[in-house]
């Protein structure tokens, strides 16, 4: 008989197999993520920390029976039946069968758990922000020094005086360095002393004290502390996202819901790409106002429709707070397409001359009723925007009626290659 100790054999013999498996799994996960988002509400993605996915493409199929037909089984443990008894079938037919089949395929529950980050990375992987020119320019990040405690070395200009003296004092106290007053008092005593013998004693003590105070310096190099700075990169890339929504009476809850989904996706997407994303919510009826998120989505409002008012507010906010040379400006507008007839010219002018030149991207989403048709009749706004649209302008427009259309539309708008051609519907 041989006994062989294999414990020190190279570990991870199946490493290669595991890597192959992960490589294969990655594709499957990517597909599953894409598919899952079609039905998943966006809230879930925002709230949920983890996303769990069953793996379909990892199956190892084999030929086996699917149940049904006439079944005979032998079981142990009969306490009460006699031949000829009938047992009611369990509600899900073939329950007994499934436990038998369970022997071989315990892998139904094989799942991947992705964190939200991983999920979003995969989810948004093949999307690209259109026109990243500004971002590229400012990719050299600004570095600002930030206080980060103390260190024992550094440049003289950074000496932390308070900290140094505190440490020096602690040391002096601990080592019993004679105080200056003490020595001065002794000196005085010597000066006043008449007795020669006593004077010798005192002088001796003075010598000891002076020696000690020389040995224990007032400030030792050990005490010195410097202020420490860490260089923190500060992203210069700043993005702001304007959400413009028509909240006039003609906008139904369903339409608002569609719009909201689009904004959420855009926000998710931008926050993946930028360190910090500001959001500005502007709602408008016949007049526009900047509101907070809660009001924007949930507070009811009624009135007519003047799209130019929203654009005007956006323009003034940009002028006041978001200098286009520093900020990447994205805007998403959702509307049912209504606009006052008289407002058309002004809207067009504002958009073309003020808003679009400042924007990286302007997406217009025309929302419709759930039972509506994507190719619904041309609305005033749609017609107007279509006239403005040209290949040179960062304007994209789409029509959406159903919830499950949101993601494909979004995906469409931000597809990598379509970055420049974003303006074609």
């Amino acid at each position: 008989m041989h006994i062989i100790d294999r414990r020190l054999n190279p570990r991870g013999k199946s490493l290669e197999n595991r890597q192959r498996f992960l490589r294969r799994a990655k594709d499957a996960v990517e597909q599953a993520v894409k598919r899952s988002l079609q039905n998943r509400s966006i809230r879930d993605v925002l709230d949920g920390g983890e996303v769990t996915l069953p793996i379909g493409g990892m199956a190892e199929p084999g030929l086996h029976r699917g149940g049904g037909g006439i079944q005979d089984r032998i079981l142990p443990g009969n306490q009460k039946f006699v031949e000829g008894d009938f047992i009611k079938r369990p509600p899900a037919s073939g329950g007994g069968r499934s436990s038998e089949a369970g022997e071989g395929d315990g892998e139904d529950g094989f799942r991947f758990v992705l964190t939200r980050e991983e999920f979003l990375n995969i989810f948004l992987e093949d999307l690209e922000l259109p026109d990243l020119a500004k971002r590229r320019l400012s990719e050299t990040e600004e570095v600002t020094p930030q206080r980060a405690g103390f260190s024992v070395s550094g440049s003289p200009s950074n000496i932390a005086v308070g900290r140094t003296t505190r440490l020096a004092m602690m040391r002096r106290l601990a080592l019993h360095r004679p105080k200056v007053e003490e020595i001065e008092a002794l000196q005085k005593q010597i000066d006043e002393c008449d007795n020669a013998e006593e004077r010798l004693v005192l002088e001796d003590r003075l010598r000891t004290l002076t020696l000690k105070s020389k040995r224990i310096p007032y400030i030792d190099p050990l005490d010195v502390r410097y202020r420490r700075f860490e260089n923190t990169p500060k992203p210069v890339v700043k993005a702001v996202m304007f959400c413009l929504m028509d909240v006039s009476g003609s906008m139904s809850e369903h339409m608002k819901d569609l719009a909201k989904r689009f904004y959420l996706l855009l926000y998710l997407f931008l926050s993946q790409r930028y360190e910090k994303v500001e959001i500005v919510f502007i709602r408008h009826t016949e007049k526009a106002e900047e509101v907070d998120e809660e009001t924007f989505f949930y507070s009811p409002a009624t009135g007519g429709t003047l799209v130019s008012s929203a654009l005007a507010v956006m323009r003034s906010i940009v002028a006041a707070r978001f200098d286009p040379t520093e900020w990447n400006i994205y805007a998403a507008q959702a509307s049912d397409g209504d606009n006052s007839y008289s407002d058309g010219a002004l809207t067009g002018q504002l958009l073309q001359q003020e808003i679009l030149p400042a924007c990286q991207y302007f997406a217009y989403i025309e929302v419709g009723e759930e039972d509506g048709d994507s190719s619904m009749s041309r609305s005033p706004l749609w017609t107007l925007y279509q006239e403005i649209r040209s290949a040179a302008l960062p304007l994209a427009m789409r029509k959406v009626c159903r919830r499950n259309e949101i993601f494909p539309v979004f995906h469409d708008l931000f597809q990598k290659k379509a970055a420049k051609a974003g303006a074609t519907p």
Partner: protein, 521 residues
């Protein structure tokens, strides 16, 4: 006082710790009982101590020490590991390989008692079974298997270098999907010799390389067509239809496979064939090993080589292993092969030594023969689960386990019929049915290749005879047929016949064009 110290000297070990000399002592003591008292006949033993991670490795490649690379083994590893890490499942105590020498893996975490149990169970129980059972003798080549797997591993990795990982993986995926239909069920040919197998391939390759002459490519092939027309009749016969070994058929007859793909199919087929006897002897194999370890451990204790405490520890593990939950227990998941096998072995021992009148009626050949080991050795050598149950499941055991039969006919409205219980009328019926449940010829779907339309579009025709109108699971079937079509390179049609022999379902698969052009062309 004196006796107790002498007693201590006899002990193989104390406490739970063990080292390599201990393992040697344990093995020798077990060997003494196994060969001397039980009369077992085993391959030489090789015991390998491994860590739990290595155990997981071994697990995920179907227990083989060296295996070709494939993502599915990585998947199984991840799966087992997840369960193990979460504490939801224990690792097996041992893995044993049907090879000569017979390799048993022992986990380093085991206590000394557990190592003794494992050595008794695997190194002697399973080992004896592998060496003596007729199915293993017929279908497996214990001397050659490790060399063959080594060859398979390097062959497949050479293929990966030459033809790309993707192409090899695709072929392997397809072969794995058909693996359960890649075995010869009936012995018709000579005994397998895996070493010859490897040599044969090397020689063929060397020959091909020697005679390779690029000029042959340029020779016009006009005449060939005519010849193939004449050969058509001949070829149909040569295809050997009908054929239930699908992998074998593809390897020999799929028109557009590369030689290396045929060789991969062959490798997968050999592996499937190697494991085929294990599938047919689960109850017997585990029952034998459990019976052997139980007897060895009892004897070690009787001889004073195992302390009371350690014996108690053994009994606890043993009881867990042979625990059989009843049908209404939440833990019930069919018959536990260890429990049923062990119970039947013990029952046979009882029949041989202290038979009742009933036993004499039922088992006239063995009742009261008086030498249980001789009877059992004979049984271990000459039966498989199906025949074992149908011959030796005794009324007394059926009563003890309170077995009953359920007959579920979807047509019957009242529900599931209790068609037999453990009484005079039921014994034979229960035994017949249980034996059928262990007959893989009966439990595996019966699928055959019945025809190839050689003159026309070369469509492959398969038939599944659904016993009791139980049809194939469709989701998986689709995937498997796709793989089959990819290998065959032309359309594949599978018909399902009900119990009245009429076709009720048809499934078609077309080869994926991409694979047809790039991988299989």
């Amino acid at each position: 006082m004196k006796t107790s110290t002498r007693h201590k000297e006899k002990l193989l070990f104390e406490g739970a710790d063990w080292d390599f000399p201990t393992l040697q002592r344990i093995h020798d003591a077990c060997e003494d009982i196994a060969l001397g008292e039980l009369g077992l006949d085993v391959y030489p033993n090789q015991i390998e101590v491994i860590t739990s991670e290595q155990m997981l490795d071994a697990y995920s490649s179907t227990g083989m020490p060296l295996f070709y690379r494939h993502w599915s083994f990585g998947k199984h590893f991840a799966h087992h590991e997840a369960f193990y890490r979460r504490g939801m499942r224990d690792l097996a105590y041992e893995i044993v390989i049907n090879s000569s020498p017979c390799i048993s893996y022992l986990m380093e975490e085991n206590t000394a008692t557990m190592q003794t149990l494992v050595i008794a169970h695997a190194a002697f129980g399973h080992n004896h079974f592998f060496k003596n059972n007729y199915l293993f003798k017929l279908w497996t080549d214990a001397e050659g298997i490790l060399d063959y797997l080594d060859f398979a591993k390097s062959y497949i990795s050479r293929c990966e270098e030459r033809y790309g990982e993707v192409a090899v993986e695709r072929t392997l995926d397809a072969a794995h999907a058909l693996m359960s239909h890649g075995v010869h069920r009936y012995a018709g040919k000579t005994q397998v010799d895996l070493r010859q197998e490897e040599k044969r391939l090397q020689e063929r390759r060397a020959h091909e390389e020697k005679i390779f002459n690029d000029l042959w490519r340029t020779v016009p092939v006009g005449l060939k067509r005519n010849k193939s027309d004449r050969d058509l009749e001949h070829r149909r016969a040569a295809l050997g239809l009908p054929q239930d070994n699908i992998l074998y058929f593809l390897e020999k007859s799929a028109p557009r496979l590369h030689p290396w793909q045929r060789e991969i199919l062959r490798i997968v087929r050999h592996v499937a064939q190697y494991f085929h006897p294990q599938r047919q002897t689960k109850v017997m194999n585990e029952g034998t090993a459990t019976y052997v370890h139980y007897n060895i451990m009892q004897r070690l204790h009787e001889r004073g080589q195992l302390s009371d405490g350690n014996h108690f520890e053994f009994l606890k593990s043993h009881t867990n292993v042979v625990f059989q939950p009843m049908y209404d227990d939440r833990r019930f998941s069919g018959f536990n092969p260890y429990a049923l096998g062990f119970a039947m072995m013990q029952d046979i021992e009882r029949i041989v030594t202290e038979p009742t009148g009933e036993d004499r009626d039922w088992f006239p050949d063995i009742a009261g023969r008086g030498d249980p080991m001789a009877v059992l050795r004979d049984i271990w050598a000459n039966y498989r689960d199906e025949s074992f149950v149908s011959q030796f499941l005794s009324p007394s055991l059926m009563r003890r386990w309170r077995m009953f039969q359920l007959h579920d006919d979807p047509e019957v409205q009242e529900g599931i019929l209790v068609s037999a219980i453990h009484d005079e009328r039921g014994y034979r019926r229960i035994r017949r049915q249980l034996s059928r449940d262990y007959d893989i010829g009966h439990t595996d779907p019966a699928i055959e290749i019945v025809d190839v339309d050689l003159a026309g579009d070369r469509r492959l025709l398969l038939q599944h005879r659904a016993t009791n109108d139980e049809f194939l699971e469709e989701e998986d079937l689709k995937l498997v047929l796709q793989h089959l079509a990819d290998l065959w390179s032309y359309d594949v049609l599978l018909e399902e016949l009900d119990s009245k022999e009429s076709v009720v379902r048809k499934h078609v698969a077309h080869p994926r064009t991409s694979s047809r052009q790039s991988e299989f062309a």
